[in-house]
């Protein structure tokens, strides 16, 4: 009699398991794990394939954290992230609250269509369109401003406004994503608690801060982290709108990495900048993990 024994089954399952994950594991090791490790190693070296690379310890990091230009770029990136994350999350939440009410199905369909459309179109494409909108003399926005008797704004060519113009476009483009995940979260707020609060006569905003916001706070945490990870990497919208200018006021870490690595062939230095970016992401993610654990305990 041939019966499958327990250990046979386990062996077969183990073999099948490894076989099924084999393609992903190989690709993941080659295109993610190995490059990350190599970048970390490179960040401690001076890379020169001709004359030979050598170990420089923390020199690259020191250079980043002592240079005026690199610190300005670091500051730009953090500043952009702060405003873009706040804008995206706050506007997304307000839009979600506005749409979270009874309305005909086709209206909801149209709203979701309109607000989500910019999310799925490449930043590279919409930035070109916004570049024409933000133009000084021939720009669409300035045309209407002047028509209304208002002064024209140097959206991208003044160092005071350039970064904010990029943030505005970023919020226009990405806030629909946050709106959608907040709508899903709002629908999970228990009806009976809300009804009880309405019966008690508490106002809309009181209900929002006392019941709704605590209830959806894990999603808000997630949104903040997700938005930060995206914002810290900001690249194409800035490359296309201002090329990092005027001067360096809108240059981001990603632009700096590409310039140092592929224009100046400062491979080791560029690697150290990308390591710093990864560490910032790591810190933000860890804070979120700890914060959401604490929230769950309450």
């Amino acid at each position: 009699m041939i019966a499958r024994t327990r250990s046979d089954l386990e062996k077969a399952q183990t073999r099948a398991g490894y076989l099924f994950i084999l393609p992903s594991s190989v690709l993941y090791a080659v295109f993610v794990l190995a490059p990350v490790i190599v970048t970390f190693i490179l960040s401690f070296t001076y890379y020169d394939p001709m004359a030979g690379s050598h170990w420089v310890g923390l020199e690259n990091f020191q250079r980043f954290f002592t240079g005026d230009r690199s610190l300005q770029i670091f500051g730009n990136t953090l500043c952009f992230s702060l405003f873009a994350v706040t804008g995206n999350v706050v506007v997304g939440l307000l839009l979600a609250l506005a749409l979270n009410r009874a309305m005909p199905a086709f209206l909801l369909y149209l709203f979701r269509l309109a607000y989500f459309l910019p999310v799925i179109i490449a930043a590279a494409f919409v930035s070109i369109v916004w570049g024409y909108f933000y133009g000084d003399d021939l720009g669409v926005i300035n045309y209407y401003l002047v028509h209304l008797g208002l002064p024209a704004v140097h959206w991208l060519t003044s160092s005071q406004t350039a970064m904010m113009s990029i943030v505005i476009m970023d919020v226009w483009k990405n806030t629909g994503f946050f709106m959608i995940i907040f709508i899903a979260a709002l629908q999970g707020v228990p009806r009976n608690i809300m009804d009880a609060a309405i019966m008690d006569g508490s106002s809309y905003w009181r209900r929002f801060f006392r019941i709704v916001l605590p209830w959806i706070s894990p999603v808000v945490f997630f949104a903040i982290v997700y938005a930060s990870i995206g914002a810290l990497q900001v690249y194409e919208s800035i490359v296309i709108l201002t090329r990092g200018g005027p001067g360096d006021v809108t240059r981001s870490m990603s632009i700096y990495i590409v310039e140092e690595a592929f224009d100046n062939f400062e491979i080791g230095y560029a690697a150290s900048i990308s390591v710093i970016m990864t560490l910032v992401i790591l810190v933000i993610t860890t804070i979120q993990l700890i914060a959401s654990r604490r929230w769950v305990r309450h």
Binding site: R4, A12, Q13, T14, A16, G17, Y18, F20, I21, P23, S24, S25, Y28, F31, V32, P35, V38, T39, L95, A98, L99, R101, A102, M103, L107, F111, R112, L113, A114, Y115, F116, P118, I120, I121, A122, A124, F125, I128, V129, V140, Y143, I180, I181, Y226, I229, L232, Q233, Y235, E236, S254, I257, A261, F262, I267, A270, A271, S274, M277, T278, I281
Partner: protein
């Protein structure tokens, strides 16, 4: 306490505000499509148009006959997006099946290592990949860009989560009958996964279609480019007068993604929500 009528009035006002805002959200798209039909000489004439003045396809013709190899670039984008989408559907589903349904030593730690991948930005992998591609001759070949993304932690995670929410009684019964694991995967699990796979497919396609940072580093010659970088190049070429021609190229570039979105709005949004809430 608010009365019902007051509440209804507030609802109406808010919906009206949202409608006005919604029009502003799509205005840039309306502008780009209408500008693509303007005669090049009138491109900068004010006021701008947000509805096509006519349906003159001359600018589209001009894009196809410009010095930028637009058709080749379009083909590159399409090829990369299709290869990556098919690749991820296969590799992620296989791995997700193993992580959701099979028991083997080290399973959970391996899965955790995959999850860590969600935190690494493209910036931290691009330098070694560039150096490696230069060595093996993959630099400046669109297929190199496709190779980088044949699997994804996100895809594995998405399909695994979905699979875990499905009952596994059928699979266990088939196992008792002596079916092999591949047969179980192919015959029983795969057909149940359709919603997750369509969501993953759509998200992956649009994401790949939109890659800019990686493409810009890895693909330099014009005929190796993908659309997002080519659009910036085209704008430079046409800088002075031919705004309308750039917008014609842009209309063609955004068309596949807009079509997918119009046809499968629910799936796109569900996929994005799934990815958002569960991680």
């Amino acid at each position: 306490m608010q009365t019902k009528a007051a509440q209804r009035l507030i609802d109406r006002i808010i919906i009206a505000i949202m409608a006005v805002l919604g029009v502003f959200m799509v205005l840039p798209f309306a502008w780009l499509f209408s500008m693509s039909f303007r005669a090049p000489g009138e491109a900068y004439k004010m006021p701008p148009s947000f509805l096509p003045p006519n349906l003159d396809f001359r600018n589209y013709w001009a894009v196809l006959h410009s010095s930028v190899p637009f058709l080749q670039i379009y083909w590159n984008s399409l090829m990369v997006a299709v290869v990556v989408t098919l690749g991820q559907l296969i590799t992620c589903t296989l791995a997700a099946f193993a992580f959701a349904r099979l028991k083997f030593p080290g399973r959970d730690s391996i899965f955790f290592v995959f999850l860590i991948g969600l935190m690494f930005p493209a910036q931290v992998t691009i330098i070694p990949i560039y150096l490696g591609f230069a060595k093996v001759g993959l630099l400046n070949h669109p297929i190199g860009l496709a190779l980088m993304y044949l699997t994804s932690s996100f895809g594995i995670f998405l399909v695994r989560q979905f699979m875990r929410s499905q009952p596994k009684a059928l699979e266990e019964a088939a196992l008792m009958d002596g079916a092999g694991y591949f047969k179980i995967f192919y015959r029983i699990s795969l057909p149940q996964l359709r919603p997750a796979l369509s969501a993953l497919g759509i998200i992956t396609f649009t994401q790949t279609w939109n890659y800019y940072f990686q493409a810009r580093v890895l693909l330099e010659p014009h005929d190796a480019m993908t659309l997002p970088i080519a659009m910036d190049l085209l704008r430079g070429y046409m800088a002075s007068g031919n705004l309308s021609v750039v917008m014609a190229a842009m209309s063609m570039a955004v068309l596949p993604v807009i079509l997918i979105f119009l046809l499968a709005q629910k799936l796109v949004i569900e996929g994005v929500t799934m990815s958002g809430i569960k991680s």
